[in-house]
Every structure is written in structure tokens, then in C-alpha cells.
Subunit: 435 residues, 2 copies
């Protein structure tokens, strides 16, 4: 009986696994150098945890199950609720600021499409306990530090930055009732994916005043902080809006100082659909605009409280592996040569009677830390040299005639083809053989 | 609303995550130096995949669910069925031998107890396509290469090795009917966990002949291959048994040659419960015998065929993280000092006006690859130096008075306390600052 893999999941054969490791190794290295420490939670949580704050859209997309104890569980579709739960559990013991990263496997029962699968990996970084836009700037910097490290330049990607706090203040200022805001965000978030008319219609369905709708539509087109006062000339009179705008300027100044200003652009249409964002929000998009967002994030100062904890400020970012991989491939930044297998040694045994000796040498090389391969079949040396080449061995150590007569090994450097005779014990004793 | 974690799962706060990474980094390094390449599958598969060959015990322990498309799925309780599926899918394209490793997250709905949780990680290594005990020996060597690398000596652990083929031949030889064998293995596998009488009773429930039961019980006490002929004097007359015994001797000779002979012991009572084993089987136990098996494995030549593929020989090993961690802690091989945070630099900003400059330097250090931390609060230098110490910084770079007057930074080596004045541009230009 042959059973297929489940729709929307991926099998990671070694070549695909090498790409996945390339992404997660990079996420990890950049997280660590930016001062984040790693955490993780379980693959499933109580179903009701995802009903707290993530909006109906995510709850519909859950893989959920009832265990034998009658617990209603769900495979995690995101890790932020787990983060909130874990931090709340130890809120008094954890030294602050909490700078954590994770690279969880997540599952969503969505319709599989380009850049969107039912199972994926997502890099998350979060700074909890800092009520300062410096933390928002650091999250954006860390995100760009990674994307730059894999070769994406400011002509490949754009970090679009806005502020939920600014947007909320401006919308209220132009006449959108406060209680309409939470319902409006998911619509504004879909703007880029909707035909213009459909978008306007949906907005008008929530906001009654046509004047307010017009102002809102104009705000959505703002691509520099300076343009705002063209639409809202009296912004300075609105303390909240002005303070939020000042924060935006601070973030841009910091990003400029940190050397990633060329990647960053103000964009009022960046809203983020989820209700929980409260301040600076951002998304990174490919410059051409062909793909879904590479990542997104922002400030969510109320989430820990919503999960039963104290009110603690927080800001973070999530980046999935699917769109990222597509983008890197598109830009020629993932090439086969990057993932070639490499071994330090290949031990070729030219005489099956010497097999125990060959295995002894293989074992000693491995134990010393040298990646070492061999062939299960003795005798045909030509085939073994081909196998050495195939696994990317730098050196081939041949155990044959010269061993039987003089206890000597033939050491062949694969790239140059140079061969030399080495004394077995000398070779194994000098730690220099780990190269 | 406060929601607890699900019973039998673990939260990996940074200290626990550091331990998990220590285990998986070691698994990975040893796998690679032993010539294995990494693969992975999805977290869930079709439920029926686990009904093929893993015995009812595992199927009962599944977390299963029905997705919105009506598919019956299960979170993977082991990765071997996925391995079989993936290899069968590409059987003609994959170069052989297939030497793969994986470190999957697995879930089983078992009663949580010491060394056994509902969610855990398991190191798997498998060699597919090699019908030679050399591959069995290599799997055992690789397992011990890892356990030795984390500090476990042959006085801490024992690799108990037997042969399913030998056991089957001997049992049939002493009068156990062939068709009783598959039902007998799970009972023999539980011997160590059962009171003696209960074990005998269960065996007698399957095997009718009391003479056969006596011989079987005697065989279970055999702890060296030489003892077998005391119980089965005419073993040489049984070709299959003799060939299986020869294989066992070959494996021991190879393990001796590979320098791990002192860890290995023949033990006829090692059976492995699952029906799919066909040859050499082994388990590693703590020497005291306090804990469950650290790992287990063996040859399973029919599994790929049972999953709808061709008949391809295979041998492998699985090692969970739970018992391993308990054992390492017991032996004092996991200490807090191993997991201390380390940073290359801490950038202290003694004047809030210099914040942009501080962030520029932080960013440049990080971009160059140096792990760099800073404090969100300026001004109090004493507190910042404490923070530098807390995050394990080797150097603290202080931006204060000397910068305002002379564009100089104070570089403090944290261990010695030595301070020196460095010129900003010189410091940032020399690549030597990555240490």
C-alpha cells in the first residue's frame, strides 16, 4: 500500500533540508548577534488559546483535535500566544528586557498557494518590557540585518513602516468612530489584494461618513510622513497623532543611524490585520511587489494583559520560510553550489582483508571530529574514488598494498590529485589531520 | 484569562532551550561526521500510515484529527513510516547507500512519566540499501560516537546487542511455532519491566510446550554469544541460526576495531517490541539499569516493501531526548556553566544625546558578525556595566565624555577590567574586532 504525503505539507529530502537549514541557521545567527535568546513551546496548545486574540480568520484555519482526555487542542498556527502564555507564567522571574527568538514549525489549514502552505517555519523575534521606539527600531534592524546578510539589497526589498497609533488617531480625527477601528483594520490590511472598487465598498460598509471615507482613502496613499499634513492640516492640534508621528520620525532616524535607512519607507497603508497591534507596524515586501509580504510585525502592548498577565509593552516580528525562499530563488541567492556535501576524508579500502583496519581508521577520524565516509564495498578502487568525489571529500585515504607491506597509507588530495605516502600512526596521532 | 500548557508537553524557556540545542547540535555534528545527511517530513501524516506496521500499541497512542477536507491525520509518533514513504517515492532517483538522519519532534498520547513525555525529540539515523552487517555496526558506532562525545563512558552505559534473526531461528529450533513469534516479541521486550512470574505466565500463554518455554527462558538469560551452545548444543546444525550467530560475531569484531568494544555486550533479552525488525537489534541502557533504554534500533529489511516499495534492506536507530537528558544530569554532564550566555560586545551609552551614535556602532558590530548587546536606558553607567556582565559580554564599549570631546571610545575588557581608549573609526575599520 502506497500512501501519499498530506496536501500542503512538504517532504524535506536532503537538498530541501539543506535550504531549510540555510534559512534557519541564518535566522539563528542573526538573532544571537542581535542579543536575542532562543525559546520554544509545544507543537499544540489548548484550542481556546487561539480564540483569545487572534481574530476569527486564524481560528478557522486551525488543525484542531480532541485528545483521549477530552482536551480540545490545536496545532499552533502562530507562536505569539505561546510566547504570551510563557512570559505571563514567569513574569516575575524573567530578567527584563526579554529579547527572545524562536523558529517554530506552524500549521494552518489554508488553501495552499504560492508562498502559503499548510505547514511552514516562521522566524519570530520579540522584545518584551521595553516601552521605547528604540525596541521597535531594533526589531526592524534585526529583520533587515538578516535579509541583508543573505544578499538582499535595498533594490530587492522595502521595509514599509507605519504606526497603528498614528493611524487610529488620524482616522478618529477625520471622523471614523473609535468603535469601528477594530473592524476596519482587517479591511485596510487587504487593500493591496482587493480591486479598488471592492475595497472602497468594504470601507464604506463600515464607515458611514463619506467625507471620512475620502480622507481615509487619501491617508492610505501616504508614502512619506511629510504628506500627512496635506490631508490632515491640523495634525499638530491632535496630541496623540502628533506624538505618534514624532515616534515614527524617531524610528526612521534610528534606522538611518543603524545603516538600514535605504531599506525603509513610510507607508500609511501598512496596517496589519490583527487587532492586537498598538504602535509601530511594518512589513517587508519584495521591491517588485510580486509576492506576499516577506515578514511583518509591530508593537502589541496589550497582548500579555489579554492573556491574563500584567500590562507589559512588547514589539516583535514574524517571517515565514515560504515567501522568503521564493524571493531568494528569484534573486539567484540560493544556488546548488551553496549546498554541496562536504567531507574531510574518504577512507578507501582496496583489500577486503583490511576492512577492520579501514573501519578503525574511519572511527578514529570521526571521533576526532573529522567528517569521514567510506564505501561498503571493498576492492574496486576506481569506484571508491568516484564515491569520494561524490560526497565532496577533500582527502581520500587509501588502505591497500602499501599498508600490507609497509603500514603506509596513501593520502590523496582530491582537488589537486596529489598523492603522498603517510605513516599510519604518525597520521592518526597528529591532531593536525582535522582540517 | 490564564491558560495552562497542555499536560505532558514542555515549555522551552531559554535555559531549557539551551539544553535542547546542546543535545540536537551534538546529534547533528556526530551524524554529519559519520556521513549521514539530514532530512525531515511533515509533522502530520495520514492516520493509516501508522496502522501499516507499527503495532497496535503505537496506533493507540496517536494524536489524531480530521481536517476540514475530511482527511484522517495523525501527528507523527515516530519518523520511520515517513522515512519509508519518502524513500519509496524517490527510490529510483536516490543514490545509494542512503544514509539519512533526522531529529523530529514527535507526539505520543502516553501517560507522562519519568523519561516519557507526550511530546519529545528523537534523533534518528538510518542506512538504507546496505545488506551487510557493516551498516549495522556503523549505526551502533555512530550512536556510541555521540554518547561518548557528551562524556558517557563504558562505565555509564552499555550497548546491548542481539539478533532478531538469531532469536527467531533459536526459538523455532527449540520448538516455538513460527506463527507465534510476532506475538511473542512484545512480551519478551517487556521482560525487564515485568515481575518474573508474570513474564513466565505471559510467555506460557503464547507458547504451549513447557519444554520450549524453559529453553526460551534460558535463552533470555544469555549474556555472551558463547553461552548459546550451552542451551542449544546443536546450533551448528541449524544453518540459519549459525549464520545469524556469525553475523553477531562480525558486528562485535567491527565494533572492537572501531574502538567501542568496551561499550558493547551481547544480550539475548534485547528483542525490540516492534514486529518489523529482521536482524541485528540493540539498545543502549544506563549501566545501573535505573532508566528506560536511552535508545534502540536494528535492522528492518522488510519495512520499505511493507510500505508499498521494493524490498530494500535497512538498519537504523532512534534516541529520544528525555531519558538522555535525565542520564546526563545524573552523571553531572549537564552543568549550568555550559549554557552561559556570551556576547562579544556590550555598547554602553553614557549620554542620551549620543544614542544615535551608540546605535550606529551597535549595528556595525552586529553586521560584522559580532554578537552585540546594549541597554535601552542611557545615563547610569554602573547599571549598564552590570548588564554587560549579566549577558556575558567579553568587552564593553563605552560611549561617553571621551567621545564628545575626542571621538574616542572606551574599550573595557570585562574579565580583567583593563580599559583603553580607542579611536572610533580605527576600531570599526579593523576587522580584528570580531573575536
Amino acid at each position: 500500500m502506497k500512501i501519499p504525503p498530506v496536501k500542503g505539507t512538504r517532504d524535506f529530502y536532503p537538498p530541501q533540508m539543506a535550504v531549510r537549514n540555510f534559512l534557519s541557521d541564518g535566522w539563528k545567527a542573526v538573532s544571537l548577534r542581535n542579543g536575542f535568546v532562543e525559546y520554544d513551546g509545544p507543537i499544540f496548545e489548548y484550542l481556546r488559546m487561539y480564540q483569545v486574540k487572534s481574530g476569527d480568520e486564524i481560528v478557522e484555519q486551525l488543525f484542531h483535535l480532541t485528545d483521549r482526555g477530552g482536551r480540545e487542542l490545536a496545532i499552533r498556527p502562530e507562536i505569539t500566544p505561546t510566547l504570551a502564555r510563557m512570559i505571563n507564567q514567569q513574569i516575575n522571574a524573567l530578567p527584563r528586557p526579554i529579547k527572545w527568538f524562536s523558529m517554530p514549525r506552524l500549521c494552518r489549514a489554508e488553501r495552499p498557494q504560492k508562498g502559503r502552505l499548510r505547514e511552514f517555519f516562521q522566524w519570530n523575534i520579540d522584545i518584551v518590557g521595553v516601552d521605547d521606539v528604540l525596541a521597535d527600531a531594533e526589531v526592524i534592524f534585526c529583520t533587515l540585518d538578516y535579509l541583508r546578510s543573505v544578499g538582499l539589497s535595498s533594490s530587492d526589498i522595502i521595509a514599509k513602516i507605519s504606526s497603528r497609533k498614528l493611524l487610529a488617531a488620524l482616522l478618529e480625527h477625520v471622523g471614523v468612530p473609535h468603535d469601528k477601528l477594530d473592524g476596519l483594520y482587517p479591511i485596510l490590511d487587504k487593500k493591496a489584494k482587493l480591486p479598488g472598487e471592492a475595497f472602497v465598498e468594504m470601507v464604506a460598509g463600515v464607515v458611514e461618513s463619506s467625507q471620512a471615507v475620502d480622507k481615509l482613502l487619501a491617508l492610505m496613499e501616504v508614502h512619506s510622513a511629510g504628506q500627512i499634513k496635506d490631508i490632515v492640516p491640523d495634525i499638530a492640534a491632535n496630541d496623540i497623532a502628533q506624538a505618534a508621528l514624532d515616534e515614527v520620525h524617531q524610528v526612521f532616524d534610528l534606522l538611518e543611524a543603524m545603516g538600514v535607512g535605504d531599506y525603509c519607507r513610510f507607508d500609511m497603508s501598512i496596517v496589519r490585520g490583527l487587532a492586537y497591534y498598538t504602535g509601530i507596524v511594518f512589513e517587508v515586501h519584495d521591491a517588485v511587489g510580486d509576492l506576499r509580504a516577506v515578514c511583518g510585525g509591530g508593537r502589541y502592548d496589550n497582548l500579555l494583559r489579554d492573556f491574563g498577565g500584567p500590562s507589559v509593552p512588547a514589539t516583535g516580528m514574524g517571517m515565514g520560510d515560504c515567501v522568503l525562499e521564493i524571493l531568494l530563488r528569484d534573486r539567484g541567492l540560493l544556488t546548488e553550489g551553496m549546498f554541496k556535501r562536504k567531507m574531510d576524508y574518504f577512507v578507501a579500502c582496496a583489500d577486503s582483508n583490511l576492512r577492520p583496519k579501514a573501519m578503525e581508521i574511519v572511527a578514529r577520524l570521526r571521533q576526532s571530529g573529522a567528517a569521514t565516509e567510506f564505501s561498503y564495498k571493498s576492492a574496486n578502487l576506481g569506484k571508491q574514488l568516484k564515491a569520494a568525489d561524490a560526497c565532496g571529500a577533500r582527502h581520500c585515504l587509501i588502505i591497500g598494498q602499501e599498508y600490507s607491506t609497509d603500514k603506509k597509507l596513501v593520502l590523496k588530495e582530491m582537488a589537486s590529485g596529489t598523492q603522498s605516502l603517510v605513516n599510519e600512526s604518525n597520521f592518526l596521532e597528529k591532531s593536525a589531520f582535522i582540517q
